[in-house]
């Protein structure tokens, strides 16, 4: 049973549920794809587990009831509806009013120049192997390489009493990692991309591979820096995860309901340098966190989180929007149909400024350039932050030196970090190979990005 063919059936279930529930909706999602991995010594083909199922949702005036199934016969779906209906009390009423939104019935599709299903698997394996060979031959200290490439297709259907929305989101992922060795020193470095579209994204510039391996060799024998406060330049990769962790998680409004986000008290107040602007947008073209509507039927649009240094907006899911009486934003997302919806980021980035990287480097007497982000962690309540990176290069008297350090951990108080931004680059780059978790679970695809940033941070 294809997801798209469930439109009429699910509409009937929604209307049936609303015979007792104050609001009902249905979400159907399917995921499929194929991934090839080639390492120094192995090849593997992996078909993504085809997660396909339906979640029925009913609001009884107090809280949401949901039922998820993956047997998509009409009989099973109807049985699930009746079972959910039995849970809803008679004569439900509430002060909370959920608007179903305007009447709309539309299908959306992400175009692919080259549909991966029409590309021979042998060609995909061969091209993946070529990238692996390039990595292995890019440096004498490369001991191991792995390249993973593949497509993922998500088909999603949202139905409530007014809306019937369907989207096919196609994405190509390419990830490559090398391990370098010299004597007793071992290190790893990695990069990649995840973009909407198809096989047309299966390419890596040779310069990019050489640069990555060269950077890996530079940090192979590197030590750690002396802990302290430093003038830093964040690469676009680092800026992106900074945006995501600093005021991304801190403005997910389901955290406001739980009094877990200090950001709630600072709406309309300055939280960053006046030149700072930060946006979350699933409408950003072609990125891994992009879509046409969220999992609660809200159409994609930009959300300006920080405007000229002022905290302006949060990101909502349906539950927090209606309870807090906020305007809805397109940020209600599930890991897949079997998971609950939370307020989640999509593509989160700092807007571009006017400074150049050369100007930033020149302006630093003693500091570091930080790149190759590995992870980040938020603390929306305490406004703490932790970012980890693989690579730091020393800057002295306005010039790069040949001193490198690894790994790097950035910690600090978010408003302090944001207010310390003194230069914002004119170059935005997005990075989408990662996933975002909510409390170590509920993984959704996101991208992060921004320009180079100059700021002051505590490093170790």
């Amino acid at each position: 049973m294809e997801i798209k063919s469930l439109k009429d059936l699910l509409k009937k279930q929604v209307l049936r549920l609303e015979q007792k529930a104050l609001y009902a909706s249905a979400f159907a999602g399917s995921k499929q794809g194929r991934q090839v991995s080639v390492t120094t010594s192995e090849k593997n083909v992996h078909f993504l587990p085809p997660s396909k199922g339906v979640t029925l949702t009913a609001f009884d005036g107090h809280y949401f009831h949901e039922k998820s199934i993956n047997n998509l016969t009409e009989a099973s779906i109807v049985t699930a509806t009746e079972s959910l209906l039995a849970e809803i009390p008679e004569n439900s009423s509430s002060e909370i009013d959920i608007e179903p939104g305007p009447v709309i019935d539309e299908d959306f599709l992400i175009h692919m120049d080259i549909n991966p299903s029409r590309v021979e698997l042998s060609e995909i394996i061969q091209k993946t192997g070529q990238i692996k060979d390039q990595l292995m031959s890019s440096g004498s200290r490369v001991s191991y390489a792995v390249v993973r490439a593949g497509n993922e297709q998500n088909c999603e259907l949202f139905v409530n009493r007014n809306k019937t929305l369907y989207q096919e989101l196609n994405r190509w992922d390419l990830f490559y990692l090398t391990i370098l060795k010299e004597g007793s020193h071992t290190n790893r470095i990695f990069s990649g991309k995840a973009l909407q579209g198809g096989f047309e994204h299966m390419q890596v510039a040779e310069n990019d591979i050489h640069k990555m391996v060269s950077d890996g060799e530079k940090i192979l024998n590197a030590g750690r820096i002396k802990p302290g406060y430093y003038d830093c330049i964040f690469s676009p990769d680092m800026s992106g995860v900074f945006a995501h962790e600093a005021f991304g998680h801190g403005t997910e409004t389901d955290m406001y309901l739980k009094q877990r986000a200090k950001g709630q008290e600072y709406m309309g107040k300055p939280v960053a340098a006046p030149m700072v602007n930060m946006i979350d947008s699933p409408a950003y073209p072609g990125q891994s966190g992009s879509f046409f509507f969220d999992h609660e039927g809200q159409l994609a649009a930009d959300t300006q989180i920080i405007k000229n240094g002022i905290l302006t907006s949060g990101m909502t899911d349906l539950n927090s929007a209606v309870r807090l009486k906020y305007d809805r934003t397109p940020n209600g997302r599930r890991e897949n149909y079997a998971h609950k919806t939370y307020a989640r980021m999509t593509n989160t980035y700092f807007s571009a400024g006017k400074d150049t990287l050369a100007e930033m480097i020149e302006s630093i007497e003693s500091g570091l350039y930080i790149d190759y982000m590995t992870s980040g962690m938020e603390d929306p309540k305490g406004w703490g932050i932790q970012l980890e990176a693989l690579y730091a290069r020393e800057i002295k008297d306005g010039k790069f030196t040949d001193n490198y350090f690894t790994p790097i951990i950035v910690t600090g108080y978010v408003p302090e970090l944001l207010k310390s931004i003194t230069k914002i680059g004119s170059d935005i780059k997005m990075h989408g190979t990662g996933y975002c978790g909510k409390g170590w679970k509920e993984w959704v695809k996101v991208s992060t990005g921004g320009p180079h940033l100059k700021l002051k941070a505590r490093l170790a």
């Binding site: 192995e42 090849k43 593997n44 083909v45 078909f47 309901l257 962690m377 932790q386 409390g439």
Partner: protein
């Protein structure tokens, strides 16, 4: 459905071996904001995961290719055949050195992984947990529960291989997330925990609430640590992923990929000055998240002593990588068991040391062993007082840290770890 799949598999002569994992998952979830329900969810999902193995001889060299697919309950026979055909095609293209799945050996159930209350009374058990939780919170002064998520799952599994294995069993999973708040205004603080266990008595909600209530209160008055090199004691969450570095380094996969730093028969640490590490894998740990009879290739699992008295004794090798390296095969990694030490926590304490229980994230790099973490909860022990600390960071490298290590005599069990509750290291960088 499973018989349908097996019938289709048998039609393909090229398939040398196959495994089929069937799972019927029933799950109930309760989401609370403060003490009120936000959402109640039920999930009922069935899936079938097939892995096929194809042996080929090419130019007198032996190869094996494999591919895995998942099949959903409403898939028709012709669709199953198409999917398996696709997998066969893919497996033939992804050829690797020869390996095979395990010959069938009967093994009696030797572990417990299913909480009977969850299995037989899912709804009632969820209500009981909610009640226990609320009462436990009420007993804690100055503490509010911001949110809780309670998810109870029963899995009905069937594992079948072409070599004759056909094992059916149930297991339970509890996922428990809790956020507590304390303090007011600028000093208001929270603590977050996510726990995964199989048994309610191992999870022990009352203990968790007590412990995290203390963490939350501590954070209201906590200060930054001082910068310098200190003796530190890691405990609780900070140990959750500490030994994953070893899990990677001792694996045949890491050896095959030349990314392991260890050598068989040699010490895992240079010039150790403290206690020596004893680490084993144990598949029979009651409630262990990685307890089981067989691994993914159908090999019966037994306890393996990996590191003994600080020496790398045995490579953990599954069928695939063990075959590649031509070394004894002992199965996939299971529950990590680390031998406790002689000293109690009191014995380990020294003036001016730090005890760290929670970090923002603390997962050592599996290749380099480098670790770092922003401190979320800790204590500075000075002049026989415990001073709450938070913020700042701890950094180091496992190989260096383990040169001077002491393990407590007290033990703990969490997820797939059983071992010392406290581990002490010397001369670790703390940044405040």
């Amino acid at each position: 459905m499973k018989n349908k799949i097996i019938q289709v598999l048998k039609k393909f002569d090229e398939i040398s071996d196959w495994t089929l994992k069937v799972n019927h998952k029933v799950k109930k979830e309760l989401y609370l904001i403060f003490s009120q329900p936000e959402s109640i969810r039920e999930i009922d999902i069935e899936n079938y995961q097939v892995t096929i193995f194809i042996n080929q001889d090419q130019e007198r060299q032996l190869f094996t290719g494999s591919a895995s697919i998942s099949i959903l309950p409403d898939t028709r026979s012709d669709e199953i055949e198409n999917k398996i055909s696709e997998a066969v095609f893919a497996a033939k293209l992804a050829l690797n050195p020869r390996y095979s799945i395990a010959e069938y050996t009967q093994k009696k159930l030797s572990y417990e992984v299913c909480d009977p209350d969850i299995l037989h009374n899912l709804d009632q058990t969820l209500e009981n947990i909610q009640e226990t939780l609320i009462k436990a919170i009420d007993r804690e002064p100055d503490i509010k529960m911001a949110s809780a998520e309670i998810m109870l799952t029963t899995n009905n599994r069937n594992f079948i291989t072409s070599k004759g294995l056909n094992e059916s069993y149930c297991d339970s999973e509890i996922l428990f997330e809790l956020v507590l708040l304390s303090g007011v205004g600028e000093t208001e603080s929270e603590t977050f925990t996510l726990r995964e266990e199989r048994f309610l008595d191992i999870l022990n909600i009352e203990d968790i609430v007590r412990q995290y209530a203390d963490y939350t209160r501590d954070n209201v008055t906590a200060i930054l640590p001082e910068t310098g090199q200190y003796s530190i004691i890691l405990t609780e969450e900070s140990l959750d992923e500490f030994f994953y570095y070893y899990a990677y380094q001792v694996s045949a996969e890491a050896l095959f990929n030349q990314s392991s730093r260890f050598e068989i028969g040699k010490a895992v640490v240079d010039s150790p000055r403290g206690e020596l590490l004893n680490l084993a894998y144990d598949p029979s740990l009651k409630g262990g998240l990685k307890s089981g009879n067989y691994d993914q290739y159908g090999l019966p699992l037994e306890r393996i002593d990996i590191i003994e008295n600080g020496v790398f004794k045995t490579v953990q090798a599954d069928n695939r990588y063990g075959s590649y390296l031509n070394i004894p095969i002992n199965g996939s990694a299971t529950n990590i068991v680390v031998a406790p030490g002689e000293k109690s926590f009191q014995d380990l304490l020294e003036d001016n040391c730090y005890i760290f229980s929670r970090f923002s994230s603390f997962d050592p790099d599996p290749v380099t062993g480098a670790f770092s973490g922003e401190v979320r909860n800790g204590l500075h022990y000075r002049n026989q007082q415990f001073i709450p600390i938070k913020g700042g960071s701890v950094t180091g490298v496992i190989d260096q840290a383990m040169q001077e290590v002491w393990f407590s005599s007290e033990t703990t069990q969490k997820r797939n770890y059983f071992g010392p509750k406290y581990i002490k290291f010397s001369n670790i960088d703390v940044t405040g």
